[in-house]
């Protein structure tokens, strides 16, 4: 069994992005990523701090807006419009959740889709379906980077994705399909989910239930990618019963330290890609 080291892959990716940016920064260019956060959600604050630190590592300039929880839609929209027009800003993201009473969809729809480095807009998601160049959603995009880094073959393999969220399951399935896997998407309404999972060469789990995938649901030699992050008795764990599953796998991602670090790294990649394409 090989443990997939997401920390190392994320760190290598960020080093590589830094090298790509360096000559442009030296030439006086700015590659900016703007993050808007409103209210006092503590998890959001941690995540935003993470993003800002990663920007510093890579050489991306952070544009950072911390707004009070009683901010109005108009105030957020005004900032977004200013950022849409700012030539130094190549990526804009609004940290969710927004305070109550604010229409998140409406706010998100104000972001110039060309600067939607989160890849959540209809425009970017549609380009993903159509197989066009796009900003892939960061978490499933990170999973694909992990598979690539470890030279894990995808074409012709049976891939099973458990979970069908807009941010992970659905884009994950589309990305695996693009790489020529035969893809099955399972979810809460799926019957015999264990039997279907047990046929997977590549099993991606993003259902948000601790220890959901047990050893009997995993084929010998499967690649298991655990996107879940749950807190049980104060400890982080994934959606996979790691201790009992790991020895059956050819590759497995731990939680934490597997998929997690890739999300922010992919956000950096999308931002740098936006910059390099338009600089």
């Amino acid at each position: 069994m090989i443990l997939i080291d997401g920390k190392k892959v994320a760190s290598d990716l960020k080093q590589q992005l830094k090298k790509q940016l360096e000559p442009h920064i030296a030439a006086g260019k700015t590659c900016g990523l703007a993050v808007i956060i409103a209210g006092e959600d503590p998890a959001s604050k941690v995540y935003v701090r993470n993003k800002i630190n990663s920007c510093a590592e890579v050489g991306i300039k952070s544009f950072h807006y911390e707004l009070p929880s009683d901010v109005s839609e108009k105030e957020i929209t005004d900032i977004i419009e200013e950022l849409n027009a700012n030539k130094d800003v190549y990526g804009i993201l609004v940290q969710l959740p927004l305070p109550k009473g604010i229409d998140e969809r409406k706010i998100l729809s104000k972001i110039d889709p060309q600067k939607d480095v989160d890849g959540f807009s209809p425009f970017q998601m549609g380009k993903l379906v159509l197989g066009e160049k796009c900003f892939p959603s960061c978490t499933p995009g990170g999973v694909m980077e992990l598979l690539k880094y470890y030279s894990i073959p995808v074409a012709g393999k049976k891939a099973v994705v458990i979970g069908r969220s807009n941010t992970v399951g659905k884009p994950m399935a589309l990305m695996l399909l693009k790489q020529n896997a035969t893809v099955t998407v399972c979810h809460s309404k799926t019957e015999n989910i264990g039997k279907i999972a047990a046929e997977a060469d590549i099993l991606v789990v993003a259902i948000g239930k601790p220890h959901f995938v047990t050893a009997d649901m995993v084929k010998d030699g499967a690649v298991v990618v655990d996107v879940g992050i749950n807190r049980v008795d104060g400890k982080l764990c994934g959606d996979v019963d790691y201790e009992n599953v790991k020895d059956k796998c050819s590759y497995i991602t731990p939680v934490p330290g597997g998929v997690g670090p890739m999300t922010v790294a992919m956000l950096m990649k999308n931002t740098v890609d936006a910059f390099l394409e338009n600089v």
Copy 2:
């Protein structure tokens, strides 16, 4: 075995749309659909005539542009921009293929995504992924209408889609997933495609190979939807070996007369929906 009668379902749907439009037409409103065709592709001409006839049936006003094969990108773009601005036009479609030398993607990207009743634009396709209200691509949308018409249960069923085109396979999988099927997408790189197909409760075939699906690939009692239209020895046939498969099925679509008539009917539906939402 029940034969799914696409002609009847399409005709019923068009009658229903006609009724929805009638009071608005009587009140002097116009529900317009614009079709742009360039060059002399005979299949396109047949299809466009079909569309025009269906518009007449439903009460949609056709705006019809037949352009020579040496038309310039600028000329087509100018027409699209005029149609984008025309308040009577709720849907715009450009019949493909366009003449050689014309950049189809570029032309299609000029259509106001709110008027993209074909549902092929990144914006509409992305809304489909995200589960938002959208214009579903007409062929897979038509398949969903057929399943609904015959009250065929989808939730919890194993659906297998053979083919992963942008116009059928991928949106089909997303629509079945939205209706709570467990969905597998197979394609040219899939191994053991017969075995996977044989597990399907609902099998949708859109691979463009005559008689590709043989009896051994179909489970007893399966619902088989054949999206293929092939011409063999001058006769139309689907992707399913109909004669040998039909008796194993609970429901099957014939070719012609199954999915085919639904495509244009769904185009009418998308246009009427666009009208009703904005009138």
